[in-house]
């Protein structure tokens, strides 16, 4: 009888750590762990040595001291007497602002361009191809600089808006495009405006509730309610009625030409516009490709089956194609949103005061705290990325194919 030797009965030899597959993976891991730890320890040790040689310490106290620099673009109160910590928060808000605006505009541009690229219209499809290839194959930084140059070099100066100048304001003298930025009307919140906002929010809630009800009803009885028109009415009518009942609590303050520049109204700076448009157009080109491939990924049989059931083309798109295409589209779309957020750090090219320019730029230069500043900056971007991908993954889980 052939006997199979029991491996466990053999005494353990040191060589087994390398030649026996059961132990080798352990050996490799321990070795790798030791090497990585030694590397990290070396980095840490060098840092401590270098810091002490420079006479620096490692603390975040500088966040509480006076910043002493101005930030022209801000969403909350800030002056040069504020702290470095507050300057960092201003920067964070500015980064989030441009990332948020950029994601919305990029999605709109991307979806339109992606759908039009599939259009049967030859000329439109070609134009969209030119747009997509043009933006995808040229660095974002160049587009930011080009759009910034357009905004500052090819737009009229405020003095051209005077009598006899060759520039004029748009939309009933409410918007002025100048080389110092775009001036738009700013709202003045009068008495009763809180109520108006509350009514508006309530109408949004009502729209959401109605859509939910309509879907339930359609699933239960098959009856389709006019969702679009009801939503549109709910969106406008209550707010407009209350606006007049309350006697116009919110008024607009138009920008006016005074001195050398426009006063009043809201100044949207060129740096924000250039960054926003460039990020949106650039990311939009990528999103267009994602949308296109998502729609192409839904097999043609689905469309034909929907037509065979008697669905009209727009219902086919809404009820059959899009829900399936979305599953393909969402994951790469998330990574495009993340890219856009990270690319907003190119704000440095146009002087937009994002978190890299405040915390990672002026604050570091003024306090000499490179290590702490860059660490905080890195942690901010990392946390933002993780949060965006986390939230989007939740949504992705909600729409993805439910299998057994």
């Amino acid at each position: 009888m052939a006997s199979i030797p029991d491996p466990s009965s053999e005494p353990f030899r040191l060589g087994q750590l390398i030649y026996d597959r059961r132990y080798r993976s352990m050996t490799i891991q321990v070795f790798a762990f030791i090497m990585i730890m030694a590397f990290l320890w070396q980095l840490g040790w060098n840092t401590v040595q270098n810091l002490s040689a420079l006479g620096k310490d490692f603390n975040f106290g500088f966040l509480g001291s006076r910043a002493g620099y101005d930030i022209n673009q801000r969403l909350i109160e800030y002056s040069n007497d504020s702290t470095h910590g507050r300057a960092a928060i201003i920067g964070i808000l500015n980064t989030l602002l441009v990332a948020f605006l950029g994601c919305i505009l990029a999605t709109i541009i991307g979806v339109i361009a992606g759908v039009l690229r599939l259009s049967k219209n030859w000329i439109v499809a070609r134009l969209m191809t030119v747009y997509v290839e043009g933006f995808r194959n040229v660095p974002l930084l160049l587009w930011i600089l080009v759009i910034f140059a357009v905004m500052t070099e090819a737009t009229p100066q405020p003095r051209d808006f005077r009598e006899g100048g060759d520039a004029s304001m748009m939309l009933f003298d409410s918007i002025a495009i100048t080389n110092r930025g775009i001036f738009i009307p700013s709202p003045i919140w009068g008495e009763g405006s809180t109520l108006l906002v509350a009514v508006f929010v309530a109408s949004l809630v009502a729209i959401w509730a109605f859509r939910r009800y309509a879907r339930k009803k359609q699933e239960a009885t098959g009856q389709i309610l006019p969702v679009f028109w009801v939503s549109l009415t709910l969106f406008f009518v209550p707010s407009v009625i209350f606006y007049f009942i309350l006697g116009g609590p919110v008024t607009l303050r138009l920008p006016e030409l005074g001195g050398f520049n426009f006063t009043g109204g809201l100044q949207v700076r060129n740096s924000l516009i250039a960054l926003w448009f460039a990020l949106s157009l650039y990311t939009g080109a990528f999103i267009a490709e994602i949308v296109r491939s998502g729609i192409l990924a839904v097999s043609r049989g689905q469309t034909e089956a929907a037509y065979a059931l008697g669905l009209r083309p727009n219902r086919t798109m809404n009820l059959v194609i899009l829900p399936q295409a979305l599953r393909v589209i969402i994951p790469p779309l998330i990574s495009q949103y993340l890219n856009l957020t990270k690319n907003s750090s190119l704000a440095i090219a146009v002087g937009y005061m994002d978190v890299r320019s405040t915390l990672g730029g002026i604050t570091i230069n003024q306090t000499g705290r490179e290590l702490e500043g860059m660490l905080l900056l890195g942690v901010f971007y990392l946390v933002t990325s993780l949060i965006i991908s986390g939230v989007m993954n939740l949504y992705n889980n909600a729409v993805k194919l439910k299998e057994r």
């Binding site: 219209n121 990270k342 750090s345 990392l382």
Partner: protein, 438 residues
Amino acid sequence: MAHSAKSSVSYVRTEMLPEQAPPVSESGLVKWVRENLFSGPLNTILTVLSLLAIYWVVSHVFQWFAYGIWTANSLSECREVRNALYADGRNVACWAVLSERWNQLLFGFYPAEAYWRPVVALIVFFIAVAPVMFNFGGRKLAIFSAVSPFICYWLLWGGSIWGPILTALGFVLAWLAYGQITRKFGALAGIVATILVPLIYWRFGVAPLTGLVDGILPIGIENIQSKDFGGFMLALIIGITGIVLSLPLGILLALGRQSDLFIINKFSVIFIEVIRGVPLIVWLFTASLLLNYFLPPGTNFDLMLRVIIMVTLFAAAYMAEVVRGGLAALPLGQYEGADSLGLDYWQSMRLIILPQALKISIPGIVNTFIGLFKDTTLVVFIGLLDPIGLSNAIRATTEWNGIYWELFIFIGLCFFVFCYAMSRYSQYLERKLATDRH
């Protein structure tokens, strides 16, 4: 009989009618226009809008573009020439900035008499990648590919020829050590020797040997510092080095992330996520501001080398995710098949898994390459003179103060040509490697 019946009925035609041309609306250009441009109200509106947009762009840009002035020494001279040529005061481009400064945009402050060196280095690079890219040349060219990095380095930076040669000798030593020591002392000692011998040689042997040989037989070309590198050449050097190095590193990281080994897996995940979560520009600032903190006191090395390392690590993390997608897309049967053939881990990866996984991930890999190449423009923020940095420098001179579009168009076209070529190449490669249809 059928034949006689046919002839007897007078109203049946017996000969074929001549073919008629299809109606005008159903053939040729008219049909194409009807179907592709005016097939419905929406399409008609879109066509008209597109035509209007094209007309607007062409009418505004064409004249500016085509009547541009090519010879002048400054922007003001350009305007004088324009006023002399065109009495109507039309706005035209001043391409003279390109004919005047093209060498700076392409080569930075690289000495003019040495322009042939980067050009030859680029040609060497293309010959070296030919075996990989077009399946061309075979074994002899592969040896050339192996030594080409040293040739390119020597051509670009110059100096004594012995430095690169003796450095390359380290790899030969490693190969010899592997062969000899494995035979005498076994596989483990062989691996250890393969790693240690060249390291010791590079650390202690190369510098004195180079000095020695160079003293006996000085062969070399003019040494050029990294700070003189600039323009499109700099973008190409950083981009190509990053591309060549990030692919193997990315594959290793992807394998690490797919690995069963707990520690290796976790370290790969942390590395990839941390690198990907933070923008490249922050990493570049880290390289320029913080690297001195992390290195042993007193060391300092070239900013360009730091940038290349950072760009490579950054691209490698993205590459790892792309390759991981390819690895995950392979059916489990391929892994099991490789195991059942008795292949060990590296054999199965090299022979079965990676060839298929990499083929699947070609579009993603090339997109990462294109992204990396475009990202080289970010080095302008830490003081390297890439094309955009040079365009700022040119605009800062008194002669060309206020010139924007001509420079932007030139830089954009340069990048477009390379990136578009890469994306077309990836489509060619996909078609070439496709095995599922014939």
